[in-house]
Symmetry: C2
Subunit: 336 residues, 2 copies
């Protein structure tokens, strides 16, 4: 069921008719949950996660047999403007590190039984400098979006989405600035750890990019101010919806990449949970706009889907409680 994406208009058509929560599976969850041997509501968000898996997988009990992390890598024209503490060649170096198992995401995936795939998107051909013109043309954008869609297996039970791309917290700031307004400085952070001068430079780049691309909406903002790995993440999240796969979003870059989907259709991210609040200050501001509550806030600011992969443990725990606990009747426990 992989769709060939031809244009922004084509994606907009897909976004018009999205599947919703499965009422039968959700009802089955709601019958079982209050019977389990605990005070009602006492597992807090673990209970919500069980409901969420049921609703979006469309089955009860839900399963976590195949959990997939997909990390998309891209390079950015704006990286030449001195917006990052690291040189652009680190994108490819880190992709090699992923492939050899040496990065944080490898350890996190291994800890929680998650299958990792890294998708490099034309690393030797950075996107255009968005202060001068659109980061991507229509064809480039559609290809990157489709690469993301194609990365989601039909039988995936839970998807973690993340990225690697030196310079990509600059598009991550520009996208919400264009979508929601506000000063560039409100959305711009230190990324991998840029100094004060660098932060000033980066903020000016964000402001110049947003000024250059006035009057756009949703997916056109993603095309003109984003990057290939951001387009791919948006594609993966849309494909997951169409395939009934719940999604764990990662940090600032990931959430910024998918915010344009919500601008096109306010229900487009209903199957997504934001795993964590990034240390990048714009992330929390962006989550407020999207009405999303992160699962945890551990000061992570790495990207690579690391926060999403860490949250897989919490989701596995939630499923284990919902499916494995005894009911009051089974255990002979008085229920009040």
């Amino acid at each position: 069921m992989n769709t060939s994406i031809s244009s922004v208009a084509h994606i907009r058509t897909l976004l018009e008719s999205l599947p919703g929560e499965d009422a039968v599976a959700t009802a089955a969850w709601a019958v079982r949950e209050p019977q389990l041997t605990k005070p009602a509501g006492s597992l807090g968000r673990l209970e919500d996660l069980g409901r969420w898996l049921s609703a979006w997988q469309g089955r009860h009990p839900p399963r976590l047999d195949r959990v997939c992390a997909r990390v998309f890598a891209g390079n950015h024209g704006v990286a030449a403007l001195g917006v990052s503490a690291f040189p652009p060649e680190v994108t490819a170096q880190m992709v090699a590190n992923f492939q050899h198992g040496g990065a944080a995401i490898n350890q996190l995936c291994q800890t929680f039984g998650t299958e990792l795939q890294v998708i490099s998107l034309e690393l030797d051909r950075p996107t255009a400098d968005f202060t001068q013109g659109p980061a991507m043309g229509e064809g480039e954008f559609a290809a990157a979006f489709q690469a993301g869609m194609a990365a989601v297996p039909d039988d995936c039970d839970l998807l973690c989405v993340g990225e690697m791309g030196i310079g990509n917290t600059t598009p991550a700031a520009a996208i919400p600035c264009a979508l929601y307004g506000g000063e560039a400085g409100f959305w711009t952070g230190r990324g991998t750890g840029i100094d004060n001068d660098g932060l000033d430079r980066k903020t000016q780049v964000v402001a110049a990019g947003v000024a250059r691309h006035q009057g756009l909406t949703g997916l056109d903002i993603l095309r003109c101010l984003g990057g290939r790995e951001l387009a791919a993440m948006a594609g993966a999240v849309l494909a997951a919806r169409l395939k009934r796969v719940p999604v764990l979003l990662d940090g600032y870059v990931c959430t910024a990449a998918v915010a344009p989907l919500a601008a096109e259709n306010p229900k487009a991210l209903d199957h997504c949970v934001v795993a964590h609040a990034s240390a990048e200050p714009g992330h929390r501001r962006l989550m407020e706009r999207l009405n999303k509550q992160p699962l945890f806030d551990l000061g992570l600011r790495l990207g690579e889907a690391s926060g999403a992969a860490l949250a897989v443990g919490v989701v596995r725990a939630a499923l284990a409680c919902h499916t494995g606990m005894a009911t009051f009747a089974e255990a002979g426990v008085s229920d009040s």
Copy 2:
């Protein structure tokens, strides 16, 4: 190295000379961590957890070969005063549920490779009603404290501490109220889900208990206003310190049980991380007094060591990153 506890005075002696952080292991952590292929500090609290394991295990790299959860169960004289939504026989019923693998804690321990042991403390002999006199005599208190100490294996690498005891959020409120002052209502919450009338009754019980036992400090507060499972948790946390075992504390009852140790020696809980912020409002207030930041806040309010057991996943992830990641040199990644 199990110590036979004879009295409160004896415990105070043990609290006078506690081992501190291991400087050699901590230094070894600090040499390795900045070499790993990520921007400095970008794994946030996962980095801190690696340091914490090294410092308190006293070895680098630290290990998580044997992770233990110890759940202590007790019954309470105050339960007869209508302070809980559940009848007191549920304590024993839930212990049976733990033994048959049907509770939330069983699923959480299984998910993250944690060994579970449940220790029942004279369930058929509730502590005395603390509004009328001390909850426990010196001998009863010492026996419960020692049962907690004896439950910590010498070769344990990480300890999760928790409890089961219908009515025990009442002593959990009374202890910080006696230690730190403030109105009883500031420390008293709904526990398993008591209604408004019950909450009023419970608050009056807390106030009456604190008024009945004026002028006490630290461990005497724990003896007079606590319960056997609370004394045992304090004993387990002290034994863990003496055996160089880092501890994950659970929610309100667990944190209240060990707060008297900090009142005796402000460094007594330095080897402990509070796993989560309970939905019980007093927990956050108590953590502020203890200068502890929870790892996450997922609205849990179950007890049973459930929050601590959930945090084991996060600690395993932290260790996997610290030990398994490649260095910049190994991976050939430019480090800025």
